[in-house]
């Protein structure tokens, strides 16, 4: 049996298969379908300092091989998470990683500080790439300067593993990755959703209340893969790859392109057991190719 464990800085994962924030609720939504303990980690719903109602309905539009969403970080705030959700999920037997978002640098810092003492939250993922909120979110992730400043501020207060989730809506994603690496990020996760839109031709109106939204699903996979490849050649910190992963082949492709671990996102909606099937597929692939450890495969694309 091949070794599946990987390390993201100080964060030790039993395997590289995790689930992406915003597609997996708090894990409990999937407890009927899979054994959550088998996952490498769970990235829970985007969390902000104060509660957020999110955007108006409609928030979703199906596309060919994917979907657009405009949820807008609906959540009950970090205080509610700590008091009411964390106690329910802390004993899942897998690391809980909280996706942190905010409208200002102070928001990010305050939210991150509140999460430090949670024993079963060994890492946070800074969301500087949400396309669905008016202030903050993606605005921080689309320039090197603002990305660096938010990472610097959070790094100065947050001692555990700090992952930064990058936006693909930039000219050169490796520049942003370098900027956050230089401010002390332990890892980058990529990609968040692509800004897109959908129109109802009959009604001549947008399908989303916000007009534009974030595109995800298998339609974005080739672009996400290319970005992981680019970032792998730019930074030294480990990469968590995601973007349209639906099966083990997709997962292996991301690892070959340079990802140390991967996240399953939108496809959880279609097949809530996909993460475990992908884990089993990776295991089988490694055994079939006589690879001792999944770490031997990272970035091993033969060109």
């Amino acid at each position: 049996m091949a070794q599946l464990n990987v390390k993201i800085s100080n964060l030790e994962l039993k395997n590289p298969v995790m689930t992406a924030s915003g597609t997996f609720g708090y894990g409990t939504e999937y407890a009927d379908f899979i054994d959550l303990e088998r996952l490498g980690g769970i990235f829970v719903k985007g969390t902000t300092l104060e509660p957020r109602e999110g955007n108006s309905y409609p928030r979703m539009a199906e596309t060919a091989s994917g979907m657009l969403n405009a949820v807008g970080l609906q959540n009950k705030g970090v205080g509610y998470f700590i008091d009411h959700i964390y106690p329910e999920i802390k004993d899942f037997g897998t690391p809980i990683i909280v996706n942190v978002s905010g409208s200002s640098i102070d928001d990010y810092v305050a939210c991150a500080e509140k999460l430090i003492d949670l024993e079963k939250v060994p890492a946070i993922e800074l969301n500087i790439s949400c396309p669905n909120v008016k202030e903050g979110g993606m605005a921080f992730g689309t320039s090197c300067k603002s990305a660096a400043s938010v990472v610097k501020a959070v790094r100065s207060v947050y001692p555990k593993t700090l992952i930064v989730k990058l936006s693909p809506n930039v000219t050169d994603i490796s520049e942003i990755a370098l900027a956050v690496e230089s401010e002390g990020a332990d890892s980058v996760s990529l990609v968040n959703t692509f800004l897109g839109m959908a129109i109802d031709a009959e009604k001549r109106s947008p399908k989303l209340s916000t007009i534009t939204g974030g595109l995800s699903g298998p339609c974005i996979k080739p672009i996400a893969l290319r970005m992981v490849w680019e970032v792998f050649h730019a930074v030294k910190i480990p990469i968590i790859g995601m973007g349209g992963i639906c099966n083990w082949q997709d997962a292996i492709e991301f690892i070959l392109a340079g990802a140390t671990a991967i996240e399953i996102g939108t496809y959880n909606f279609i097949n809530p057991t996909a993460s475990i099937k992908i884990l089993e597929g990776i295991e089988n692939y490694l055994d079939r190719h006589h690879i001792n450890s999944v770490t031997d495969l990272i970035g091993q694309l033969e060109v």
Partner: protein
Amino acid sequence: MKKMLDMIVRSNEQLNYHNYLLKVSPADNSPLPVMKPGNFVQIEVKDSPNTFLRRPISVNYFDKQKNEMWLLVQDIGEGTHHICQSKENDILNIILPLGNSFTVPINADENCRLLLIGGGVGTAPMLYLGKVLQGQGFDPTFLLGGRSSQDLLQLDDFERTGTVYYTTEDGSKGEKGFVTDHSILQDQHFDYIYTCGPKPMMMAVAKYAHEKNIVCEVSLENLMACGFGACLCCVEKTTKGNLCTCTDGPVFDIKDLLWHN
């Protein structure tokens, strides 16, 4: 407990120009979880390039003895078209049961008057609800509406379950007009109203119930991705904030909705 099951199509009957009745059972003969009236399922659509998400379909009937579920599906797009083209013995991957259910009155007098209003394919969950109410000793009244007589479906099943009234927009069956125009709403008294159908119809029913101070539950069909509370796409604004139609609904008491504001 929610399950993802491969289900075998036992039969698929075309009921009118765009509605199909599929009867499905677990392919491995495992017992179906208990389904309640108002529950829905999510059906995977294969081999349809423009369909990515599952299609939510309400439970039309659940036959525990036969371990069989009925799904009334309207062919309104590429996804539902694929489902409607299913043939006997085809396999459909289905996640079930999803959502909450209609409230069956507890400790109510059997003479309690229950009105079930369905419009178009929205009659689907009303059949199962009616069967359950009938099984509990109630005598449900149905008010079914459609554009014309050919849009009114499963009439034999409804007539075996309770007293049935009809409206059609062209007057080809029952009273002419919308369900809310029907004379029974003026002539008879009801204690509970349950409704499912196009949103404008449900809003009109809710307005009537609100004015008459009648308890009323509606079944919504907001666009959703997952169906089990993860994506937060199908929210409805309520007095308790944004709630998911898939987990907090699809059935809502109208007093929790903001339709009258």
